[in-house]
């Protein structure tokens, strides 16, 4: 009874709403502050960046002309760009792969019932909450070439004879950055995957037990296929994020030694703020932006195909 009365009342109210919509501010007004800030800061700036990338603007001299795709052709013949490009791809591939793999392992452990599980989960949030700048400095100290504790531990275990100059040598610097990133992001990845794992009904595990499957078979044939969409989405976000890595590299190595860890973000930043090449830097940023879209599109295709498979 009461429900129908409410319904009638809301209906008349809605009808009145429609009649007066032309002078009443619609609910769209509530969206305005959010959309305006996002539009002014993000959208408009990206378009302005596109425009700047077609000009030879620098802040060092008053030149400011339209040069078409001149910046882009210059970039593609720039060995510094290709150097940074390769490092960025290496970093993105390695960190995404390792973080997904380790994250999955952690998630599988946390999906089991054991005492103190909440404590483990809380501890896993610590690396995520630490500012990236602090992480960089922390790993700078952990992997210090002379007094770093990592070198000490490796020596004690007997894996190395002499100290390794992790950050100071071109061979190890990128590896150190990857390790730092894996440390910082894997636990978070694990929590995302754990959320996915927990949506898989427990009755499926029961069914597997009845059918005589062992835990490994249950993982491989039941859980993994069901988890694949979550895995794809999580690793996509991770890859997009890894591709624009800046803080870790900038603070830990500054792109060195001898450009061995230069990535696209740090190169772009240096072009913009050290060389003051606004046009050239904007073209670099635009190339990064386009690559991000390509990465998202590749994952999107896989995801669509997977979802279609599940649907059939």
């Amino acid at each position: 009874m009461a429900i129908t009365e409410v319904e009638i009342h809301t209906r008349t109210l809605r009808a009145r709403n429609i009649r007066f919509r032309f002078w009443r501010p619609g609910p769209f007004v509530f969206l305005l502050p959010t959309l305006a800030s996002i539009g002014a800061i993000a959208i408009y700036r990206v378009l302005l960046g596109l425009w700047l990338s077609l000009r030879d603007t620098t802040l060092a001299s008053p030149t400011d002309n339209f040069i078409g795709l001149g910046n882009y052709s210059q970039i593609f013949s720039d060995s510094q760009f290709w150097n940074a490009w390769i490092h960025t791809i290496q970093f993105t591939a390695a960190s995404t792969l390792l973080e997904t793999l380790f994250g999955l392992m952690m998630a599988l452990i946390l999906a089991e019932q054991f005492r103190g599980r909440g404590l483990v989960r809380a501890a896993m949030l610590v690396p995520w909450a630490i500012p990236t700048v602090v992480t960089s400095k922390m790993f700078g100290w952990l992997f210090d070439g002379q007094n770093g504790i990592v070198n000490y531990l490796l020596r004690v275990v007997g894996l190395i004879q002499h100290n390794i100059h992790w950050i100071g040598s071109p061979d190890f610097a990128l590896t150190t950055i990857i390790i730092a990133d894996v440390w910082k992001t894997t636990p978070f990845m694990a929590l995302l995957l754990l959320a996915g794992l927990q949506t898989i009904p427990g009755s499926l595990a029961e069914a597997s037990v009845i059918d005589g499957a062992n835990p490994w078979q249950h993982f491989w044939y039941v859980r993994l296929p069901l988890l694949t969409p979550t895995l794809l989405i999580a690793s996509m976000f991770r890859a997009l994020d890894a591709f624009r890595i800046f803080d870790l590299v900038y603070v830990l190595t500054g792109g060195g030694p001898a450009d061995a860890t230069e990535v696209l973000s740090t190169l772009t930043y240096k072009q913009l703020f050290s060389a003051l090449q606004v046009g050239y830097g904007s073209a670099l940023a635009t190339i990064m932006f386009i690559t991000e879209i390509v990465i998202a599109a590749i994952f999107g295709v896989f995801l669509l195909r997977k979802m279609r498979e599940v649907g059939q």
Binding site: L13, L31, P33, I38, I41, T132, V133, V209, L264
Partner: protein, 290 residues
């Protein structure tokens, strides 16, 4: 049925691991905890050791004797409190505005009659995936023209735009889960949407709003690139920029760096540990139930 029985039944659903398997699980859990917390504990230990111990081999795992010279150094010698004040001003203002704008937008998208709400949400999510390096150059040009370099407001405005997508998304999910009948009852009493939002929906959603605010706070507190680009003096530089600039003339002051790290991170870590339940469900869209 009491709790014990329920949990027993739950564990019977899955695989029963032999005791060897259980030992393996506990061992892996221990490894995860050490891996996650270890580096920060070492940083804490470092911050309490005198320089001659830090530069000696083998390293001392536990600080003995304990010294606070590094904490004194950063506040007296390097005016670290200035960075802290700047960070607090920028971060608190950002969080407040983000929650104000973002929660109203989320409320409208979740509970009012808006055409194409999922298209708008998709648009907002898409913006959050922009590489930030793509907007730093154009924004810098704008900042120079407006004379906004070295101000708090330039950082607040940028962080606001970067934080809004997250706030809108998380709160949208939460507001959707509140039964619609509550709004309708209020509407019958003649309440306008804004009044419904402030008097009913917001107070009901306080836990979610607090959690979202914390996510926003952490993101703004930790941001580095924009702060580095837009501020150049100690009157406006935030903590991450301050720490990044900690370099000695002849050697790296690891002890001071560690002390600064502990000062800026300990509050975050404590906050995260206290609110961990809410943070996890906020970040994963409420999929983790326990």
């Amino acid at each position: 049925m009491n709790k014990m029985e329920i949990s027993q039944q739950k564990s019977q659903q899955g695989f029963k691991f032999p005791s060897r398997g259980r030992v393996l699980i506990y061992l892996s859990a221990l490894v995860i905890v050490c891996w996650s917390v270890g580096p920060f504990l070492w940083q804490m230990s470092t911050s309490l050791q005198p320089d001659n111990q830090l530069l000696s081999s083998p390293p001392h795992l536990f600080p003995y004797p304990i010294t606070i010279e590094h904490f004194v150094n950063i506040f007296v010698g390097k005016s670290f409190h200035r960075y802290l004040v700047n960070s607090v001003i920028v971060t608190v203002a950002t969080t407040f505005l983000c929650l104000l704008f973002g929660s109203i937008a989320a409320y409208a998208l979740a509970r009012l009659d808006i055409r194409g709400r999922f298209r708008i949400l998709g648009f907002i999510l898409g913006v959050s995936m922009f590489p930030q390096i793509a907007i730093v150059g154009p924004l810098y040009v704008l900042g120079t023209n407006f004379g906004w370099l070295d101000t708090y407001r330039v950082l607040i405005v940028i962080y606001l735009a970067l934080g809004l997508p997250l706030v809108t998304w998380v709160l949208f999910g939460y507001f959707r889960s509140i039964p619609q009948s509550i709004d309708e009852a209020a509407r019958i009493d003649g309440a306008r949407p804004l009044a419904i939002y402030f008097r009913i929906i917001l107070p009901m959603s306080l836990p979610a709003v607090v959690t979202t605010g914390m996510l926003c706070f952490i993101a703004a507190w930790n941001e580095f690139m924009f702060a580095l680009a837009f501020t150049s003096d100690i009157n406006h530089q935030t903590v991450p920029v301050g720490i990044a600039n900690f370099t000695g003339l002849h050697y790296v002051p690891w002890g001071d760096i560690a002390a600064a790290s502990v000062v800026v991170t300990l509050p975050l870590v404590i906050m995260v540990l206290v609110f961990q339940q809410h943070i996890i469900s906020g970040l994963t869209g409420g999929a983790v139930k326990e």
